[in-house]
């Protein structure tokens, strides 16, 4: 790394303009908008005031600094505007008169004592007031000062305000306040993982580390960033903190790095807590919680923080205005209960995490982080990997036509469903044989989950294409896989048993062959033909952890525990990008199968075996991943049993604490359908639980 000027995360105002520009992302349109308003003002057009709203650390000062610098550098505005960039913490402002003085000071205007002399000092130029913490300033000058300011602005028509605040505040949002509706309000949202990666990439580029810049775009880097995002809520200040100390080698250290950054932030949060009045502090500390703290309704907050129930709503409103607390809409999560009830949680997850870290000495947070790491690793990989059937088609084509110029053909059946449909259309227009187009559309249907439609189209393709054409064979294979997907196992089994010897002969030990074995074994397991399933998959079981897991399921359900245990060990020995992927893929099967058995007969074995191969993290993630399917077929009583058994069997395993707690919240929710159960989870876990709950409802309705 070259040594560039250090980026100061708390004081962007002190950072050189060029450096701020180099790492500025996402909000260029807001800068353009504000600057175009200034031009309009200078040209004698209308007056537009802008207000940027966002929590601390979201990048308001960075944004305002960019605007201030660009205005000062704009030659077309020279001698036409004066910029008054007020202090970030405007202690000197006590009332309207001192505000005017402060404006004059920061704009280097002399001889100013009141509104009229300010206008005189401007000498025909326009004034742009840049005010971070505008809410604070309005508070200090009180309503009467706001009226005076507005009067000055209205009569001069040459003054505009570019303000920022942590949240909407009464002085701009209530009808009876002078500045009601006067601002064009822009909410500054947190960074997504992609945006964070972009920021880190820019910082790396600025520091001359192009290798890191490229690496940050990899799925591996993003899976780690996702964990930080889940915890930090996409808080830009945290990304800036991390940006300076990240490297390729340290990407797996990103999470510990984040924890250390959190430690750096602790004094900052302590300062902020100190500024709170007693009642406010009690509420904030309640919402920080001792354990996994989620959102709470007003009544619970009053009770837990011991503030009078009558004053709690008002205190909460004030905390919302101060940017400490936000309310969560209950109707954003599935379930029953009054969707209009307001639940509250801390606006900045980092505040909660920083307090919790002190309270639990980092233990709880460590567990959450560990779980999220596994979870997001899984999710990211499954979202970015090539669909199995897509890769199958490509592999087959490559194998069958090696050396011939058919490569372009293989690409025809790869891509998103939209692309595939577009290609089918193109094929039809080119008159390239109906079968090819049908096959492309069938792939698209399959990718979209329309398995019945895919089967029908494949039927057309199979009858249209010459039986010697490899595409006919691809169609037959895809049809078998589609049959498996819609539960027509008998048909799939019949076909696959028939073609397997031929495939084996043409492509011995080939991935396509193994894939067909796995589909066949999977279907056999579904029909409780576990012994046959084990025989079919065994030759492939050493090829891929997923296949080893199919063998594991077959053995386990067959009651052959030592064989199952061996399969698990063999799976965990295999080198793979992420072993939890296979657990995730197969745990659903296992869970569904286990509905028919007493969970007490299987869960202890699973916990013991996974612990033995050091794969409890994967077990936890897989357990949750499989839950929607499990819930959709299990009665609510069965679901509660399931959660109880898991809780009991993992009580002394901290690694399982987080997934089991999420499992408990989800099963309680399934039983009661009360939103409250999901809202009780902190946002980083709620974000995982809510999609699972929605998926369970969807599956239940389909069933």
């Amino acid at each position: 790394m070259t040594s560039a000027t250090p980026l100061l995360r708390f004081t962007p105002r002190a950072v050189p303009h060029a450096d701020l520009e180099a790492v500025f992302i996402k909000r260029h349109h807001l800068v353009d908008k504000a600057i175009s308003s200034v031009h309009e003002l200078a040209d004698g057009g209308g007056v537009h005031h802008h207000l940027f709203i966002g929590p601390r650390g979201v990048g308001k000062t960075h944004l305002m600094s960019i605007i201030a610098h660009r205005l000062n550098a704009d030659a077309t505005l020279a001698n036409r505007i004066v910029v008054a960039w007020l202090d970030e913490d405007p202690w000197v402002v006590r009332d309207y008169a001192s505000l005017i003085e402060h404006i004059a000071d920061t704009a280097s205007l002399t001889g100013v004592s009141d509104g009229p002399s300010l206008l005189a000092a401007l000498a025909g130029r326009c004034l742009v007031i840049i005010a971070e913490n505008l809410d604070d300033i309005f508070d200090r000058i009180e309503t009467v000062g706001q009226h005076d300011l507005r009067g000055l602005i209205e009569n001069s028509r040459s003054i505009m305000i570019l303000g920022a605040a942590v949240a909407r505040f009464a002085d701009m949002s209530e009808h009876d306040r002078p500045f009601f509706g006067s601002f064009e309000v822009e909410d500054l949202t947190e960074f997504s993982v992609d945006e964070a990666a972009e920021l880190l990439r820019l910082v790396a580029e600025r520091d001359g580390d192009s290798e890191l810049a490229t690496f940050l775009e990899s799925p591996h880097a993003k899976s780690r960033l996702k964990v930080v995002e889940a915890l930090a809520g996409g808080h830009p200040r945290v990304w800036m903190l991390l940006a300076g100390c990240i490297s390729i080698e340290a990407i797996d250290e990103l999470v510990p790095l984040f924890l250390r950054s959190l430690d750096d932030l602790t004094p900052y949060y302590q300062e902020r807590l100190k500024s709170l009045a007693k009642g406010h502090l009690a509420i904030v500390m309640t919402l920080c919680g001792n354990g996994l703290m989620g959102a709470l309704p007003v009544g619970d907050i009053a009770k837990l923080s011991k503030v009078p129930e009558k004053s709690a709503p008002q205190l909460l409103d004030q905390l919302v205005e101060k940017g400490f607390v936000r309310f969560v809409r209950a109707d954003g999560v599935p379930g029953v209960g009054d969707g209009r009830v307001r639940y509250y949680e801390l606006r900045e997850p980092l505040l909660r995490l920083s307090v919790q870290m002190k309270r639990t000495k980092g233990q709880l947070l460590g567990l959450v982080v560990q779980f999220l790491r596994t979870w997001h690793g899984v999710e990211l990989l499954s979202a970015t990997r090539i669909p199995v059937e897509g890769s199958l088609a490509r592999l087959y084509v490559e194998a069958a036509v090696r050396g011939r110029d058919f490569l372009s053909l293989s690409e025809l059946y790869d891509g998103t469903s939209e692309q595939l449909r577009g290609r089918a259309e193109g094929m039809r227009q080119l008159g390239a044989g109906e079968g090819s187009a049908d096959l492309a559309e069938a792939y698209a249907d399959y990718a979209d989950g329309y398995f019945d439609a895919a089967i029908e189209r494949l039927g057309t393709a199979i009858t249209t294409l010459p039986s010697t054409d490899f595409r006919a064979f691809m169609a037959l294979l895809l049809q078998a896989v589609a049959y498996v997907n819609i539960g027509r196992y008998d048909e799939a089994i019949g076909f696959l048993f028939a073609v397997l010897p031929d495939i084996e002969r043409v492509l011995p030990d080939h991935p396509v062959t193994h894939k067909m074995r796995s589909n066949l074994a999977h279907a056999l397991n579904k029909l409780d033909r576990h012994l046959e399933a084990a025989e079919v998959i065994e030759p492939a079981a050493t090829m891929d952890p997923v296949y080893a897991f199919i063998l594991l399921v077959s053995r386990l359900l067959q009651g052959e525990l030592s064989g199952a245990s061996e399969a698990l060990r063999s799976a965990m020995r295999m080198p793979t990008a992420d072993p939890s992927m296979s657990v995730e893929y197969l745990f659903g099967e296992l869970a569904e199968q286990m509905l028919r058995k007493d969970p007490r007969s299987v869960v202890p074995w699973l916990v013991r075996e996974f612990e033995a191969v050091d794969a409890l993290d994967e077990l936890g993630a897989g357990l949750l991943r499989a839950l929607p399917r499990f819930l959709s077929v299990a009665g609510s009583e069965r679901a509660s049993d399931w959660a109880l058994v898991w809780r009991h069997e993992t009580a002394d395993l901290p690694q399982m604490a987080i997934p089991v707690q999420v499992l408990a919240a989800l099963t309680t929710w399934w039983e009661t359908r009360q939103r409250k159960s999901l809202l009780s989870l902190p946002p980083e876990l709620r974000d995982i639980a809510v999609p699972l709950a929605e998926k369970a409802i969807e599956l239940e309705q389909l069933a």
């Binding site: 009226h147 005076d148 000055l152 209205e154 009808h175 009876d176 002078p178």
Partner: protein, 376 residues
């Protein structure tokens, strides 16, 4: 604008409207575009004016800014200032000696008299935020002084028909008058002025505004006509809500390739009405009743509930009958009439023919129903 100018041709005017309906924009437009052969138009917000003396300064200043220094009115005003001991000062930024506080009335009379000296065309004083200034004077000095200002202005209007005044403000003047009212005297300080209620935008203007707000914002324009029409229709041409809706559309569609549809507009309105964060500040219509109607606020709320529940406009007899059924201690018919009048001035209600009333805006009715939990 045409209506206001037409009225100003004959008399002074009070403009009433909710906040963010475009009052100030209208005043600005009048000043910018109607300063022609027919009128001299001067604008001034008296929001930062807190005494009668400062008010006189504001009047001098607004005229001084509009007319050239050589205009005979300006020369006359300079003479007036000289007579009170202020010589050679810039008439655009006049500050009177606080010692003149007691003498503001004769000074105001001389100023208005001077302004009326040019008989070629009426001079219109657009005085923005007058009700707020009156409240401030009443609080700082006494309600009697504030009343005196209004009475003096009324007398001056009668004696100097060449000077027209236009009062406007975020607070309805009728509320300020109610607060200043002395029950022992009959007081009608503005009944010589024409009241103009700022109408909603005409449909085509509302549609144009909606389109203007969406163009150039990276929102797909395939459906622009239909979407803009739906925006204008759903909020019945209230510019403030059109602005909010446009911001919502830009937020939802400005960064995607998705094309907004009229149904999306319905959803945005629904969301705004139901959102507990109340981004459009609709709860204000419920919460402000206490301030506006003081001890009557409960009965007013019940009246609005009854009207909000009814899908059709409701007649007076029907309303009072239902009111009796709802509330043990009901106001007399006359009192109900007076409250309905006030509700109409506060832009809640509008007469719907055949002696019936309804909510002026359907969106306010929706908001009222939602905030008061009337929807079953």
């Amino acid at each position: 604008m045409a209506t206001v100018l037409e009225r100003l041709g004959n008399q002074s005017v009070i403009i009433g409207a909710e906040r963010r309906m475009g009052k100030t924009s209208l005043l600005r437009k009048l000043e910018a575009e109607a300063n022609d052969k027919a009128f001299v138009i001067c604008y001034r917000s008296v929001e930062n004016t807190s005494s009668p003396t400062e008010f006189v300064e504001a009047i001098i200043e607004m005229v001084g800014r509009r007319l050239s220094p050589r205009h005979k009115i300006v020369k006359g005003l300079r003479n007036v200032l000289r007579d009170v001991g202020l010589k050679g000062i810039d008439i655009k930024g006049v500050t009177l000696d606080p010692a003149h506080a007691v003498a503001w009335k004769p000074l105001l009379e001389r100023v208005i008299e001077t302004i009326d000296r040019d008989k070629t065309k009426p001079v219109v004083l657009l005085i923005d935020e007058l009700p707020y200034m009156l409240q401030k004077i009443a609080a700082a000095d006494s309600p009697a002084i504030a009343r005196d200002v209004l009475d003096t202005l009324r007398a001056l209007r009668a004696n100097h028909p060449g000077v027209r005044m236009l009062f406007s403000g975020s607070i309805g003047l009728h509320h300020a008058l109610r607060q200043l009212h002395d029950p022992t005297i009959a007081w009608q300080p503005v009944n010589d002025m024409a009241a103009v209620s700022l109408g909603l935008l005409a449909p085509e203007d509302a549609i144009n505004l909606a389109k203007r707000l969406l163009l150039g914002k990276n929102v797909a324009t395939d459906t622009l006509d239909a979407v803009a029409a739906r925006m204008a229709e759903l909020v019945e041409g209230v510019p403030f809500y059109i602005h909010h809706l446009a911001a919502g559309v830009v937020e939802q569609f400005g960064r995607t390739a998705d094309v907004p549809t009229p149904a999306d507009i319905d959803a945005l309105v629904e969301k705004a009405v139901l959102d507990p964060a109340d981004p459009w500040q609709l709860a204000h219509y419920v919460t402000r009743l206490k301030d506006y109607f003081e001890e009557d606020h409960e009965v007013v709320a019940i009246i609005l509930d009854l009207i909000a529940r009814s899908d059709d406009p409701i007649g007076f007899d029907d309303l009072t009958k239902q009111l009796h059924a709802k509330k043990a201690k009901t106001p007399s018919d006359d009192e109900v009439r007076a409250l309905l009048d006030l509700l109409e001035r506060d832009h809640y209600l509008v007469k719907a023919g055949a002696g019936r009333v309804r909510f002026r805006l359907d969106i306010i009715r929706k908001a009222w129903r939602a905030k008061r939990y009337l929807d079953r």
